[in-house]
């Protein structure tokens, strides 16, 4: 019951923060609304008993990725945003409605084909979601993907250095 109250509370704040991000006319303000949204999503992960993902969501997304977003905003010098009244609300409304109908139809089709994942108990979810059980498979069964992630991060480092540290010719 407490989980349900928390879910609806967090979901409401998340949607409100998302709208705040879209409607804010200041790019940095938008980024800060997004931080609030990401925090709410982290809370939602907690209600789903995925504690490790929740902490990583705050550490990586609300922390590190947001720093990048803010830097990009500063780098690009985004000054001119369309006024609220200039936004084509018909298109926005149509798109939202269309995606909603698509989601609903997909859900109906998926549930009638019986391909939806089975519901798991909260105890099992907490077991799977902990860092301990994640580590157990990550470093044994998924050791190769882990090294591939390492190479991806290496590529990101080298790419950033290559682009930003170009010697003036």
């Amino acid at each position: 019951m407490a989980a349900q109250i928390l879910f609806f509370l967090l979901a409401t704040v998340a949607i409100a923060a998302g709208l705040g991000m879209l409607l804010s006319r200041n790019p940095v303000g938008s980024a800060l609304w997004l931080v609030l949204n990401l925090f709410c999503i982290a809370g939602l992960y907690l209600t789903l008993n995925a504690e490790f993902i929740a902490v990583v969501q705050i550490l990586v997304y609300a922390g590190a990725i947001m720093v990048l977003f803010l830097f990009v905003i500063m780098l690009l010098n985004l000054d001119v945003l369309p006024e609220i009244k200039d936004i084509e609300w018909k298109k926005v409304f149509g798109f939202t409605l269309g995606m909603g109908v698509l989601g609903l139809l997909s859900f109906v089709v998926a549930s009638s084909l019986d391909i939806l994942p089975n519901e798991i108990s909260a105890r099992r979810a907490a077991e799977v979601g902990s860092a301990t059980s994640l580590g157990e498979v990550l470093f044994t069964q998924y050791a190769l993907p882990l090294e591939v992630i390492g190479i991806l991060l290496l590529a990101a480092t080298i790419g950033a250095v290559m682009l930003a540290k170009r010697k003036p010719v």
């Binding site: 590190a64 720093v67 990009v72 907490a126 301990t132 994640l134 990550l138 882990l146 480092t157 950033a160």
Partner: protein, 123 residues
């Protein structure tokens, strides 16, 4: 499971309430005598010049990018620390240490490249 986080949410709520209470309390209780100089944006004691919206150097972005890479590395190392005891119990401690060492070496290559290229020098 979620009930274990009860204290956490209580503390989170208290922190939010306290932050707003202090801000609001200071605004309500404190004297407010604004003048032109007090309301100027603070820029290390200097008179602010130009707008805040100037283009920043890409060097900042490089620092942030490298920060993210090593932030994510630590995120991947954390489950290792958390399940270390279990690996020892299962007798695969050394193999897992090898996997982690390779992972760290791959990322260390990036760090060495960065240092050699002078990516950490902020000139």
């Amino acid at each position: 499971m979620l009930a274990e986080y009860g204290p956490f949410f209580i503390q989170l709520g208290l922190a939010i309430v306290l932050a707003f209470a202090f801000l609001k309390g200071a605004a309500l209780l404190g004297p407010s005598r604004p003048n032109r100089i007090k309301q100027m944006p603070y820029e290390s004691g200097m008179d602010p010049i130009g707008t805040a919206r100037t283009r920043y150097s890409v060097k900042f972005y490089l620092v942030a990018m490298i920060f993210i890479v090593f932030d994510v590395e630590v995120v991947f190392l954390y489950p290792w620390a958390a399940s270390f005891e279990r690996f020892l119990d299962a007798g695969v401690g050394l193999e897992v240490l090898g996997v982690v060492t390779i992972f760290v070496i791959i990322l260390a290559v990036g760090l060495v490249y960065d240092i050699k290229k002078g990516g950490l020098e902020f000139d």
